[in-house]
């Protein structure tokens, strides 16, 4: 009998504590919207009884902790009961968790997705068009970078930018070249930062630095990049090419410009001055054996642990100028949220300048809002001394990462990745690639 009483007591305590937590069944919260535009402000009235869950993928544990703090901060300012979920754990990745939750109808009210997936989610009616709520709160699309907003405002029917609003970008990023200044000095080659400042940082100068550093011999290599679509795509962008036609309705991998970029990449990898294509370049760069390493801003916190002198320089100019990527992801609202108005308020608050400044203060993200305050906060995060390199990448007409509204981006990437790798590693002739790649990837466009 005593044991039963203790058990009952424990169950009651459990129930009590649980009830003290979240109540996802709340569906009667009436809210009105305020305009959290550049800073987070409380809604004009009535945040009571609104409970929202939101999920975004942090790049590291420190960032997860900051998101948790931001959640508490916004809960206080908006008057909502907010729960932040990092989304991934030991057993499942972010994407896996999100899709499983969406399938089961248990996805959070607000969640982050990569920019390449906006179309897939919008076309399946999984996320809400937020335009009506945005208009009611004085939101201005022009407050954010144009590239992501073009994708976020794309109409499903036309596949072109219109009056829809699928979410707001959480942050943006560009590629830069992380440079081992000690190796550069030891090799006696020109400093890429000085070359860039002098306007002489082009592919030829880049190749000279690569060869010069690799000439140090042994395990020293001049350059390294990963084998996913971003790094090789940057070479095509540099040459004025790209994956798709301008209206993103067809493959452009076979264009002369794309092929020129790919040829430059293949030539670079035909020698042994670089980390072999497909090998992880970050480990040897951090070990101090690589002169230059291409990666996005998200790599900065990890690179800060190295014990040699380093900085960041922009990508070298190709025939079409200093091409780059504009990477981004967006906060979107679950189509099944009980309170879309409050969810929009949360999205707006999460992308407000002061919140973005907090996140970018950790060094892994560039604010998505075109706000000098947010950019100033980003620039204070040193090293690297040359944070401006990432912002220059934004200013130099980068190609915006984005979905295929008239096709399947994941399918396209799966088909493209292995063929590009085959070209770069020399197992496929580039002329054959140019002749056939667009017909090989036509399935991704429904062909």
């Amino acid at each position: 009998m005593k044991k039963k009483l203790i058990l009952l007591f424990a169950v009651l305590a459990l129930i009590a504590a649980a009830c003290g937590g979240d109540d996802d069944s709340s569906d009667d919260g009436a809210t009105t919207t305020a305009a959290p535009a550049t800073t987070t402000e409380a809604p004009a009235s009535g945040g009571d009884d609104v409970a929202l869950r939101w999920m975004t993928r942090p790049d590291n544990p420190e960032e997860a902790a900051v998101y948790g703090e931001i959640s508490d901060q916004l809960a206080a300012s908006l008057g909502y009961d907010l729960t932040y979920e990092p989304g991934s754990n030991e057993g499942a990745g972010y994407q896996q968790t999100l899709l499983t939750n969406l399938s089961a109808g248990t996805a959070p009210d607000v969640f982050w997705i990569p920019g390449t997936e906006i179309a897939d989610f919008a076309k399946r009616d999984v996320i809400l068009d937020l335009r009506q709520f945005a208009d009611a709160t004085g939101h201005n699309d022009a407050d954010f970078y144009e590239g992501p907003m073009a994708q976020l405002t794309t109409e499903i029917a036309t596949g072109q930018p219109g009056n829809a609003l699928w979410g707001l970008p959480r942050d943006v990023s560009t590629f830069g070249l992380y440079v081992n200044l000690d190796l550069i000095a030891e090799a006696g080659v020109a400093n890429p930062l000085e070359l860039e400042a002098a306007g002489e940082w082009d592919i030829a100068a880049f190749n000279e630095v690569v060869d010069g550093v690799a000439a140090l011999g042994g395990e020293i290599k001049g350059y390294g990049q990963s084998a996913w679509w971003g790094p090789y795509g940057a070479w095509m962008n540099n040459a004025g090419g790209g994956f798709f036609t301008d209206d993103r309705t067809a493959c452009a991998l076979d264009s002369d410009a794309s092929i020129a970029g790919l040829t430059a990449l293949r030539d670079l990898y035909s020698g042994d001055a670089v980390i072999p294509y497909g090998e992880d370049p970050e480990t040897p760069f951090r070990a101090g054996t690589v002169g230059m390493f291409q990666n996005g801003r998200w790599a900065t916190p990890g690179i800060r642990t190295v014990d040699f002198n380093w900085d960041v320089v922009g990508l070298p100019s190709g025939s079409a100028g200093p091409g780059n990527w504009l990477f981004w992801g967006a906060y979107v609202v679950n189509a099944n949220t009980a309170d879309p108005e409050a969810a929009w308020n949360l999205v707006a608050a999460l992308t407000a300048a002061d919140i973005q400044a907090q996140i970018s203060g950790l060094g892994a993200n560039i604010p998505s809002r075109v706000s000098q305050d947010a950019l100033d906060a980003f620039l204070t995060f040193t090293p690297p001394a040359n944070n401006q390199a990432f912002l220059d990448g934004l200013a130099n007409d980068p190609t915006t990462e984005g979905p295929l509204w008239a096709g399947s981006w994941p399918e396209f990437v799966t088909l493209m990745d292995s063929e590009i790798q085959a070209v770069v590693t020399g197992s496929r002739d580039i002329a054959d690639f140019q002749a056939n790649i667009c017909s090989e990837t036509s399935a991704a466009f429904g062909g």
Binding site: A17, A18, T83
Partner: protein
């Protein structure tokens, strides 16, 4: 074991008073199940959709058949009526209770339990102090009773303070308010009524009324004992398995309605070059990796089974890789495999230089690109897999060896058999049941290869250079979570299941024919 007897008040006709309410309840539950079935069939898209809906329909049909049997058995007053009725009531308690708690937001609130407990964990010290005092009382002299009393009240007070600190009073008020909210109260009442009738049917009174004999009573006890496990199996294993089988016959993205496509997904598999490539990769992997994870393990076990000093230490050392986290281990191996700064190539370099120095020659050391060269990327995965598996297999063989009758070795010694002869003629034949198990489990694990290539290749695509490390599970994952092709991914899963099941069955049948399993 049956519950304590509950006094029964019979009516004049000899029926207990609960009989009529029981019949009414039986009919009511059947009508409810029928209504739920009809609603699920016709109200498409209202509550749940897609494969989940079909599963629900099948479950409701099963429930309705069960309810029919229960009504008939109850009216006939036979044990089957009691058994099926009890089963239905028991399931209703679990299902309706679960739904009620879910609707109340209790499961998402469980996070708060941890937080509330962590925030007040220091109060547990009061209970711990009471517990220590209670232990001290055992050694005390005359005041033992008083000390025990003080200890007990200290513990009770500690628990009470902890509960209050965790918010038991506002929590209970909140609980009560949620309990009466909307449909929750209906589910809760349903669960409570089901619990009452389940309890009623569990009594000796009911057992007598329905003519339950001793064996049947014990069988019911047994069923109740295994019920949590069976329910868990149905909910988390069999259920998803059936759902995934159904999904494999659909075109479904996991987000919108599924379209039934019959065997089309399976037909497409045969012309899917990537799937065929993944199959080829996994078969090559299996042919190379499985023998190399088993045979050396046998030899290692024979070595570790010797009476040499330090063997216990080495047993632990060899077992370590199998208990280490696969992600951490793979990340370490990824660094070892790095072609420019990895220790593996460094070792090759040094060894080559050393041999070169011995022979007075200058040899160029091969520096394999373990991860990025499509001709050897799978070998890197095989090395990692063998390293992980060999220790575990060694321990299994070791356990098998220690079960071999020592007199066999003594007899062999008398006959003048050497170590090799004893291993070949005694150990290996006697270990055949263990070998069957080791080979089967290694095969199953090997064919499900996922984590190792996935992590080794990151941040590059997990399929590796020229898809050389693409495995069926990676392909399944890519289809399901990158390309939103859950239906096709399920077909891949079932094709892989058939492959694994076929190989394992073949192996067991061969072993059975050899009499290994019976031995």
């Amino acid at each position: 074991m049956t519950a304590a007897s509950v006094s029964s008040v019979s009516t004049n006709s000899g029926e207990p008073r609960w009989f009529l309410p029981l019949v009414v309840w039986r009919v009511f539950t059947a009508v409810l199940l029928a209504a739920a079935l009809v609603a699920t069939v016709i109200q498409r898209g209202i509550v749940v959709d897609g494969p989940v809906r079909l599963t629900l329909i099948l479950a409701l049909i099963g429930g309705l058949i069960g309810a029919g049997i229960a009504i008939r058995g109850t009216l006939q007053r036979v044990h089957l009526g009691r058994l099926s009725g009890f089963a239905i009531d028991f399931l209703l308690v679990v299902i309706l209770g679960f739904i009620a708690l879910n609707r109340m937001g209790m499961f998402t609130g469980l996070d708060a339990v941890g937080e509330a407990f962590n925030g007040n964990a220091a109060l547990l010290l009061i209970i711990v102090v009471g517990w220590f005092v209670s232990g001290f009382a055992e050694r005390a002299g005359g005041n033992q009773r008083n000390i025990k009393l003080i200890a007990r009240w200290t513990m009770i007070a500690g628990a009470a303070i902890l509960a209050v600190a965790m918010g038991i009073f506002p929590g209970l008020i909140e609980f009560a308010s949620r309990l009466v909210r909307g449909e929750v109260v209906l589910f809760a009442i349903g669960a409570a009524v089901s619990a009452v009738f389940a309890r009623l049917l569990w009594t000796d009174d009911a057992a007598r009324f329905f003519g339950t004999n001793q064996a049947q009573s014990e069988a019911m006890d047994g069923m109740l004992f295994v019920a949590p496990n069976v329910l868990g199996f149905l909910a988390f294993f069999a259920g998803p398995l059936i759902v995934s089988a159904f999904i494999s016959f659909t075109e479904w993205d996991g987000l919108t309605d599924a379209t039934f496509v019959g065997f089309q997904n399976y037909i497409d598999l045969f012309s899917d070059s990537l799937f065929l490539k993944s199959l080829r990769n996994i078969l090559v992997f299996g042919v190379v990796a499985i023998p190399l994870a088993v045979v050396p393990a046998l030899l290692l076990a024979a070595l570790l089974n010797s009476k040499l000093p330090g063997m216990k230490f080495f047993r632990a050392v060899y077992f370590l890789p199998s208990i280490a986290g696969v992600v951490g281990v793979t990340l370490i191996w990824k660094q070892l495999f790095n072609s420019t700064v990895g220790y593996l190539n460094y070792m090759i370099l040094r060894v080559t230089e050393w041999f070169g120095a011995i022979f007075g020659a200058t040899w160029e050391a091969p520096q394999p690109q373990w991860i990025s060269d499509d001709s050897i990327a799978l070998i890197a995965v095989i090395i990692l897999f063998i390293w992980q598996q060999i220790g575990f297999n060694t321990v299994l063989f070791l356990a098998g060896m220690q079960g071999i009758d020592g007199t066999l070795y003594e007899a062999a010694d008398i006959d003048g058999a050497g170590p090799w002869a004893k291993l070949r003629n005694i150990t290996v034949p006697m270990l055949r049941p263990t070998t069957v198990f080791v080979v089967a489990t290694t095969t199953i694990l090997g064919l499900q290869l996922f984590n190792e290539p996935f992590i080794l290749q990151s941040p590059s695509p997990p399929s590796g250079p020229n898809n050389s490390t693409l495995t069926p599970v990676i392909y399944l994952y890519q289809n399901a979570f990158s390309e939103f092709q859950i239906g096709y991914a399920s077909a891949v899963a079932w094709a892989l299941f058939v492959l694994i099941f076929g190989i394992t069955l073949l192996y067991f049948r061969r072993s059975g024919e050899d009499g290994v399993l019976s031995s």
